[in-house]
Symmetry: C2
Subunit: 223 residues, 2 copies
DNA sequence: CGTTGGGTTGAGCGCGATCAAGCGTGGTGG
DNA sequence: CCACCACGCTTGATCGCGCTCAACCCAACG
């Protein structure tokens, strides 16, 4: 339930807490509990009462909407240092989406009531929460725009470029999670992601397992 | 530049300010300016420095991403009482999207720096801003899920249902803006919206100009 | 070896974008 | 008063993207 030293370090470096003076951050950490989950574990389901929100420490979490007919649509993938479901602090206390782990995951868990209380006493905490909300809002809007403007190969290209150092002409990195998860994140079926990767071969992208190599970053930008 | 009585009333009832004790809200209103725009006026462009965010008083505002090749994708339509672009308070001070009026519009304009300062002094202000951010975040996520799970007629049905009283069996309302604007909001070409409306005729929906009549709300729910 | 699970490849198809033409209404001017 | 136009919307035809289903590949593992 309590954090070990390593977990505490990751948490203090998270987007949310790193905004705060360390004394404040440490005070909040005192009230945080750790949750560990196996791969594919449900974390919460849409419609459930929401007493907590979370920051990922290790692993990746998938947040998605489950439709009446059982289909799923991902609305966000969250990795180490990222916070999700802070929205429930203000939406009536009910989760509007499902969350499950993609793999083995550890998370820090914040009590909604306690954090509301903290935020009402120290303006800095509210501001840090706003920064986190703002970050997630931006990503969501970016996602809508990307979905609506770009084809599958273009979205994949965008994703790859986000994982390249700004001013490199060539790059190589390793996907931090399964391709099927990436497909969901981009709003694609796994088959479509696969085909998008082959389409990007002509732009100098080669994929071996989770390793992605980009021959010419600039060429990829004009896709 | 200054608000008249009527505008002040609308503003105090907006989602953002109505969260606050009236003394606090009134203090903020003192520092707000009014901006009026003709139809189709640009409010800001992506990439511009962001010194303000806005609450709509009358009319509707369209926020959208402009792609390299000149295509546009709406990411939100904001009407009276709704606040947009609060995200710029925390994203580095640059607008990531374009905004333009859909029709003649009046807006209240908040100075980012001033509101940051207020928020750092009074926790309640931060909390109200969080509520607003949270609301916009929820809508954005809902939009992603809706886009990815539902077809055009289903999305239109959803929109219609959101404008029906919860427990009515029949309903009728008037679109507050042009159909082409609704199409953009739902991520559709105007033609697709038109076809979606015809498809919904079989579910008891009839459309005359901006008037929408729903014969059987429950039938529409199972579309 | 057989199995299992993630990924790829192929064939078919449905949704919605695009382009183009037609419709209806409101506004203007002769 | 009516001819004309402008604009928002509808309707039709075509086409391409990406989903679906199915088969196959391949590496890891017992």
């Amino acid at each position: 339930m309590k954090l070990n030293v390593r977990e505490k370090e990751i948490l203090l470096r998270s987007y949310f807490l790193s905004e705060l003076p360390s004394a404040t951050a440490l005070k909040i950490v005192e009230h945080v509990t750790v949750a560990s989950h196996e791969a594919r574990d449900p974390i919460f389901k849409q419609g459930e009462k929401a007493d907590y929100f979370y920051t990922v420490l290790t692993g990746f979490v998938r947040v998605f909407r489950l439709s009446k007919d059982g289909r799923e649509a991902d609305i966000g993938i969250y990795g180490p240092g990222e916070t999700f479901a802070e929205g429930v602090m203000f939406n009536g206390g009910t989760h509007r989406f499902c969350a499950q782990t993609a793999e083995s995951v550890t998370m820090a868990r914040y009590e909604v009531d306690k954090l509301k209380q903290f935020a009402s006493q120290d303006p800095a905490i509210g501001i840090a929460l706003m920064a986190s909300l703002s970050r997630n809002l931006d990503q969501a809007l970016e996602c809508v725009a990307d979905d609506r403007l770009h084809t599958a190969p273009q979205r994949v290209a965008n994703f790859i470029l986000q994982n390249c150092p700004e001013n490199a002409s060539t790059a190589r990195f390793r996907l931090p999670f399964q391709k099927s998860l990436l497909a969901g994140k981009l709003g694609l079926a796994p088959e479509a992601l696969s085909r998008a990767f082959s389409a990007l071969k002509s732009a100098g992208v080669s994929v071996h397992g989770r390793i992605i190599e980009i021959g010419d970053v600039n060429a990829l930008r004009n896709f």
